[in-house]
Symmetry: C2
Subunit: 430 residues, 2 copies
């Protein structure tokens, strides 16, 4: 039993949690690599099969399905006034190698479940509701991540997106053709009234606060670096300490510095050395070379700038102290995203209305919603993942929490799709 | 031009440096992997070919050659009194993969060159002089290192030595048979009057002091450890700093601690983290596991004990602070060796007599001489290696330095083989 069992929504308008869980289990078998993991790289056969399956369900549910030129799939439930811009929700179906089964899929299937719930209640919305499956969110097969939503939001051109290649040199355009998802619809260029995405947190914050819902206020900006320290390999037994040019000792000082920089800006900052490669990496040789990666995140770009400056100064200092040469390369620069205040408020209100413990939270990772924030009012609903599952990367959750997230997402979407007093009236009627 | 050119020995009794260098170049071609490196793993075809070549030269020089049960080869030049125990010199012919061409070979060939020099001068010694080629000094093919000399000196039984297997499961006994060096002579069990070994320093100390000869007073003892820190892999972008169990940050603290322990006992201590393996070692994941090796050296076992205690306490502290589990395994324990005062003095005197700048030095690595120190008066002559060659592991030297080392070795051997006043008289006559 965990902190989130026995949730009782305070309103009658809610999704069918069992149906949603059943769909998730069914989609989770496509590309499954274990009971709880799957490998469904973008535009592979398994990604195609998952797309086909969801499209079939959406068609059954009466949606009009369209596919755009980068392979994003839109499943539309018409509104009363199709002259108004639609309200959009969704996520992605592609995964990392051995990725979590809820990452992406729960946002897509929650959207579909919401459309079915509205169908069952025969509820009509003012604006159309569309559920989207974005292409290549993970970036595991085609670099960069959030590519489909990025092209949609104008962060990249369509040509850029279609010409990305995977490790085997396969072009994204050809991979789309192969699985039948090179669509005729133009990518982007149309108005979206609002975009709300439900996603599993993939971090420990909600669980440790016993909150079942996170109202995501921002996504951390990110800076990535690759730093190489070059000293001199020499024999461990015969090179006096004061004559060494030990690249690994320099790297250790940088790892401590990165940790200090993170602590200095805690709790919102994340600062990580995730990768370290040592040469020659032999027990009796002083290391001559060490390459490490640094990953900084913070929701305020000004703080990221300060972290960047401290790192650069630290590398110069550590290299000088240790008689080392250094190579410094910035590999990632993503600006921080502040989500739309109206979307965040809608998520908070929906959670309160439904009686779910809710807290504001900052997303560490970039999601498709960060791209959508460029062109529309965007927001996110986070649900907790549970450390008790023992999975290193914390990708597991429960049927109850997924149902809670879908309920909150539904009410937040309706608040946008119904407009003003009509939302309250509709919920009261339901 | 380097600091060691233009050496002029102060006495006429000296080896033929050109002949010695020519022999070294010839042996260096057997198993050569580059102009200056060779791969001549113990008891492979190339090791066998190098042995055959040196045995042929020794036979030509009139030596009586015998091979013992572990494959050690003894090349004996008789003395006036064969009832006295012999004076022994030598080293090894096996190498590391891409090892230096002078490591081992220069000690063997210097010994042979000394016998030829004495032949040419028709100098008779009181005691027999024997040049030995020890089996499997490097430990690169068969674990452990200094195996042939170790069995000779009683550190290991013969059965232990013969039953060692390489990575392919080949037994050392079979490898010896295959190249024809499973000899009939018993291994060890006889008196040796003294053992002196010439070796390249493989460190920067002599070069930086512009000393052409090192009188090796001791070999550092050694402790080796493998330490694993186990935390929890988690996402770099969404795991707050204070909730992390970052194995790599713990490893960085240990690397700094190892460095501090080394500096605390400088200049004689060496303390090295040479190997670090991180899991999952991905740029956007907080590392869940880090394995590192620690290598401590010091010529005083009491200091090594202190270093050991500080490391063990540090691992407990770092693990506790970081919420980490730890695994601690000691992999190496070699006691320090103090070489025989008479042998050290003989080397110093020979260098002074010949006019070579000489300094006392401590060996970082274990050599066959460390095994011989168990059963006889043992000492070593180091010659410098030159960093100007740009090789990472500093295995290069010059013909002049090798000649200097061989001259010092010869005079130090004669001081033992001639006894007392007879050495001075013989040198004066020569």
């Amino acid at each position: 039993m965990n902190a989130f069992e026995n949730l009782a929504p305070a309103t009658d308008l809610r999704v069918d949690g069992d149906r949603l869980w059943g769909n998730l289990m069914e989609i989770g078998r496509i590309g499954a690599s274990s009971d709880v993991e799957l490998t469904r790289l973008a535009l592979t056969d398994s990604d195609g099969a998952a797309r086909d399956c969801v499209v079939a369900w959406a068609t059954e549910a009466g949606c009009e399905v369209s596919v755009d030129a980068i392979g994003n799939i839109f499943m539309r439930r018409a509104g009363r006034r199709d002259d108004l811009s639609p309200v959009l929700t969704g996520s992605h179906l592609d995964s990392q190698p051995d990725g979590g089964r809820f990452d992406g899929a729960c946002g897509v299937l929650a959207g579909l479940e919401i459309l079915r719930t509205l169908n069952a209640r025969d509820m009509q919305t003012e604006r159309a509701l569309e559920v989207v499956i974005w292409t290549n969110e993970e970036g595991a097969r085609f670099h960069p991540a959030t590519l489909g939503s990025g092209v949609f939001a104008g962060a990249h051109t369509l040509d850029y997106g279609l010409s990305r290649t995977d490790a085997d040199g396969v072009r994204l355009a050809d991979a789309l053709q192969r699985i039948g998802y090179a669509g005729p619809a133009p990518c982007g260029g149309r108005n979206i009234y609002a975009y709300l995405e439900m996603h599993i947190e993939q971090g420990p914050v909600l669980e440790s606060a016993s909150a079942s819902i996170g109202a995501v206020t921002a996504a951390r900006g990110r800076r990535g670096y690759e730093i190489t320290l070059i000293g001199e390999a020499s024999r461990a037994g015969s090179t006096p300490m004061e004559r060494r040019r030990d690249a690994l000792f320099g790297a250790a000082r940088l790892i401590s510095l990165v940790h200090d920089i993170g602590m200095m800006h805690a709790p919102l900052a994340c600062a990580t050395v995730g990768m370290l490669q040592v040469r020659p990496n032999v027990h009796n040789v002083v290391p001559g070379r060490a390459m490490l990666t640094v990953d900084f995140r913070h929701p305020d770009d000004a703080v990221l700038l300060d972290m960047d400056a401290r790192l650069r100064a630290g590398v110069v200092r550590v290299a000088k102290d240790g008689g080392l040469d250094s190579e410094f390369r910035q590999t990632v620069s993503q600006t921080a995203v502040r989500f739309d205040a109206g979307c965040v408020a809608a998520v908070r209100r929906a959670a309160n209305h439904l009686g779910y413990p809710c807290m504001d939270i900052v997303s560490g990772a970039a999601h498709d919603a960060c791209q959508l924030a460029r062109v529309t009012a965007a927001g996110m609903v986070f649900i907790p993942c549970l450390s008790a599952t023992g999975r290193d990367d914390a990708d597991e959750t429960t049927p109850e929490l997924i149902e809670a997230g879908a309920n909150v997402l539904m009410h937040a979407l309706l608040a946008h799709a119904l407009e003003g007093d009509r939302y309250a009236a509709a919920v009261a009627r339901a």
